[in-house]
């Protein structure tokens, strides 16, 4: 195999650009009750949403930073220097032609139009706070699927979304979920009616564009009985010099027999704090699966969880993290077993390059009097350079005699023999390393939808450039 550089020739500047800001609505810098009122006014929130935001703000102020267990880097976030709301001031667009040209150009570089041409059912691309472009293909709409932005969802479909809004992740779950609850804007609200199987993945792209601007999208997906849906989000952000905060809340509700698969490829710029709370609720026989790839950001703290509330519910987290110089990928999974015969599976693979640090934190909880609950956890870490760092901190609680839990973790490096072998076959050391790393994550990546696995492999190759030799 002869690999020309063109095969992996990725535009390194991709994502590393920004257009002049033209925000019509701007809540200013800093956070106060005025900010909340401003956001609620602009978004024309119903009163209950406004009250919810104000209560959440109090909770946010009361809660300390979780630095007793988490990275001290969090202290670098200056909450007074962040803009909490921005909007291009345009109504949500229904067709591609109506999207302003500069925003279109941004999206074009991200490849959204092509992706849509392929087979995407709907594209919800969030440019800063608001969904600028929202379009679900006719077929999905006819099935009765609701796919709207968070504001629209709460305003137009309260009977559907209010019931579950903030129920899976309570406001006070952590400091950043409280922050999100106070200032959220954007994100997707999806409802899939009973028995509907959404064939193609629903997709959303998020970008942070304005400097010093935190993005606080809120996503709630409800899959009614027996339905199935896959949701994909990809993130790229232009690079800025001052740290940017991304703090999302994502709640998934899988009712009896439903299946939700949520896929993320996170590739924020290396100055972004990515502090995200993600949790799914699985009722009887339902399945929630998180596929989570973290490649960018300065510090990511994200532990997707599944609460298995109904009998035979299943939870799964497949996670890939890649930590390069100056990055800390603090990721993991939470599995809360709350009914008999529930099963969960966690597979986590991390790669640390240069001075990068990858951390796995896990929580597995099997309370008493449950029968036949099973958890399997596997964490594998790969270290590329002698300065790379990896940590594993699982916490497992098991009660009762009917349950089985196993956890395994290993840390290794690419073997010198492998590299030597590939070099003998004409590959450069860097190519060999890249190939080995792709081999390391391959069994996980194979489970991803096709274009994601291609994109992911390329991103990994890109990150690996210059890490050896």
């Amino acid at each position: 195999m002869k690999t020309e550089t063109t095969a992996i020739n990725i535009d390194r500047g991709k994502g590393d650009f920004s257009y002049p800001e033209a925000h019509v609505r701007d809540a200013g810098v800093g956070l106060s009750e005025r900010t909340i009122h401003y956001i609620a006014d602009v978004k024309e929130d119903p009163d209950w949403v406004r009250d919810f935001r104000l209560r959440a703000l109090k909770t946010f102020w009361e809660k300390p930073l979780p630095t007793h267990w988490a990275s001290k880097e969090l202290e670098a976030i200056d909450f007074d220097k962040i803009r909490y709301y921005l909007s291009p001031g345009t109504e949500t667009k229904r067709s591609w032609e109506e999207v302003p040209d500069d925003i279109k150009r941004t999206f074009e570089r991200l490849g959204i139009p092509e992706q849509e041409r392929k087979f995407l059912a709907g594209v919800e691309a969030q440019f800063d706070s608001e969904a600028v472009y929202s379009n679900i293909k006719k077929a999905v709409g006819e099935q009765g699927v609701i796919f709207v932005g968070s504001t629209e969802g709460l305003k137009n479909y309260p009977e559907i979304f209010r019931k579950w809004f903030s129920k899976v992740i309570p406001v006070g779950d952590n400091k950043f979920s409280a922050l999100n609850s106070a200032v959220f804007s954007g994100g997707s609200f999806i409802y899939v009616p009973p028995g509907v199987k959404v064939k193609h993945p629903l997709q959303a792209y998020f970008r942070i564009n304005a400097e010093n601007f935190g993005q606080f999208e809120r996503t709630l997906i409800i899959a009614d009985e027996g339905s199935e849906v896959t949701y994909m989000e990809g993130c790229t952000a232009p690079k800025f010099n001052t740290p940017t905060l991304h703090s999302a809340v994502v709640e998934l509700v899988a009712l009896k027999g439903a299946k939700i698969q949520y896929i993320t490829v996170q590739n924020w710029a290396s100055n972004v704090f990515n502090l995200v709370t993600k949790r799914g609720l699985a009722q009887e026989n339902a399945e929630v699966k998180w596929i989570d790839c973290n490649i960018g950001s300065r510090l990511t703290m994200k532990y997707p969880g599944v609460i298995m509330k109904g009998r035979k519910a299943r939870g799964e987290v497949l996670s890939i993290a890649l930590a390069n110089d100056g990055q800390h990928q603090d990721t993991g999974a939470k599995m809360i077993h709350a009914a008999d015969e529930t099963t969960s599976n966690i597979i986590s693979k991390s790669i640390s390059i240069g001075k990068g640090r990858a951390t796995y934190r896990g929580l597995v909880h099997v309370p008493k009097h449950l029968k036949n609950c099973k958890n399997n956890t596997e964490c594998d870490a790969l270290l590329i350079n002698s300065t790379s760092r990896t940590d594993t901190y699982p916490a497992i609680t098991v009660r009762g005699t009917g349950n089985a839990v196993q956890h395994e973790a290993s840390v290794s490096q690419v073997s010198a023999e492998q590299i030597f072998y590939m070099q003998q076959r004409g590959l450069s050391e860097a190519q060999a390393m890249s190939l080995s790393v792709n081999g390391f994550v391959n069994d996980l990546v194979r489970q991803f939808p096709m274009e994601y696995s291609v994109e992911l492999k390329r991103l990994i190759e890109l990150e690996m450039e210059g890490s050896v030799g």
Binding site: A381, P394, V398, G402, V405, A409, S412
Partner: protein, 439 residues
């Protein structure tokens, strides 16, 4: 009536170090400083990561007292029941921190430079050695406050020095007894094995009564010099109302190997912290533990395998069998420091749940700051295999006995790793007794 007299005479531990004891001035100063430190450090809470899942509410020290001298009867009784191994190279027996008996190592060993003395004597006669090693490792696993308490209140203990190249074949035996309600002990072992020395020590922790409340706060420092081989065994059989904390630290120099096995069957709450520091190339540390937890017992194990030097190995195997409403906590960390390349570290904790109310918490952790390492850990929680049980029953073995066989078989794996048949038999008996006690 004697009991009342004892409690009246005894000072609460929270009144601080006694001034009446006959220690060198430098040691008194250390104790006063340590007491201040104890008072300054905050009480642990569950929110502190090193105390996650722990029932910190049990750590109320107010009821516990420092024992006045024991009566002649008490001393004789303790002596009578201090039976452990059939053969030993030396032996010390303490009750309420008072030295009851010391069987000196053979004259030959003494001539060759073995020091086997109570702490208070060693700090005078071998002040340099003592001061170099005494509590030289910081308590990193959460109990800094209790290490300070120990340092402030320790009044006796064992000092064992094995000189260069000397191998002591038979084990050294140490007994620590708790006598009377609400008494406290601060067991201390300082073991220094010089270059290429070899020694095995077993410590027994026992109570005179099966139910008397008490408090034990021990510190245990093992130093394995270059090429030395140190084996340490702890048999913890405190009464069912004892609150026990034990802080073990092991320093392993180049080409040395240290093996420790902690068996826990007693106490209401027993926390044991094991810190193993591998400071020289070729060092190896084995950390083993077996716990049989019943009723409402809580065993709280915290470990750190700290690889500081390249080419070191460590292997941890902890097994818990949990019945009734017992709880166990395992919080372990393998840490590979920068530049500690070619580390080979392993960590495994296995919980066997025998009842619906038992609870096992496992936090096996890794922190790797070097590459070219091989580190793995595993944690499992499960129950007795129904197929194995069925097999034994088809062979005519009643369910209860079959269960016990399977549990002891599960735990035996750890004891066998010790590769010391006599100590193994002794530990095995303790496990059997623990199961027999409940039937």
């Amino acid at each position: 009536m004697t009991l009342v007299t004892h409690q009246e005479q005894a000072a609460p531990i929270l009144s601080g170090p006694s001034e009446s004891r006959d220690f060198p001035d430098w040691f008194r100063d250390q104790q006063r400083a340590a007491w201040q430190q104890f008072e300054t450090l905050p009480n642990p809470t569950r929110k502190d990561q090193p105390w996650r899942f722990s029932n910190v509410g049990l750590l109320d020290l107010a009821p516990f007292r420092i024992s006045p001298p024991l009566s002649e009867d008490d001393r004789n009784n303790v002596l009578k029941y201090s039976r452990g191994l059939d053969e030993y190279a030396g032996r010390m027996i303490f009750a309420n921190d008072q030295l009851i008996e010391r069987d000196v190592v053979s004259d030959d060993l003494k001539k060759r430079g073995v020091i086997f003395q109570p702490l208070e004597r060693a700090m005078v006669e071998h002040a340099d050695l003592f001061r170099k090693y005494f509590m030289s490792t910081e308590a990193k696993l959460g109990s800094a406050k209790f290490a300070a308490l120990h340092k402030a209140l320790v009044s006796s203990g064992t000092f064992l020095f094995v000189p260069r190249g000397l191998e002591i074949e038979l084990p050294i035996e140490i007994f620590h007894w708790l006598r009377h309600d609400n008494m406290s002990v601060f067991p201390h072992l300082l073991l220094v094995a010089d270059e290429l020395a070899k020694v095995t020590v077993i410590e027994h922790f026992r109570s005179c009564s099966r139910t008397a409340p008490g408090f034990a706060c021990g510190v245990n420092d093992l130093i394995a010099g270059p090429g030395a081989r140190v084996t340490y065994v702890c048999a913890q059989e405190w009464a069912s109302n004892v609150i026990a904390l034990q802080m073990n630290s092991t320093v392993v120099d180049h080409d040395a190997s240290a093996m420790s096995l902690n068996l826990h069957v007693g106490a209401k709450y027993s926390r044991f912290e094991s810190l193993s520091r591998l400071i020289g190339e070729g060092g190896r540390s084995d950390l083993l533990a077996v716990a049989v937890a019943k009723h409402q017992q809580e065993f709280d194990a915290r470990t750190l395998q700290d690889h500081i030097s390249p080419r070191t190995a460590s292997d941890l195997l902890y097994k818990n069998a949990l019945d009734d409403r017992a709880r166990t906590i395992f919080g372990g960390l393998i840490r590979v420091e920068p530049h500690a390349h070619f580390t080979d570290a392993y960590q495994k904790v296995r919980n066997l749940l025998l009842s619906d109310d038992a609870e096992a918490n496992s936090m096996p952790g890794l922190e790797i700051l070097a590459d070219n390492v091989r580190c793995t850990h595993g944690a499992t929680s499960g129950q007795i295999d129904e197929d194995e049980l069925f097999y034994l029953r088809t062979r005519g073995i009643p369910t209860k006995i079959a269960q016990r066989l399977l549990v002891t078989g599960f735990l035996d794996e750890v004891i066998q790793r010790l590769d010391h048949p006599e100590i193994g038999d002794h530990l095995h008996r303790l496990i059997e007794d623990k199961f027999a006690a409940s039937v």
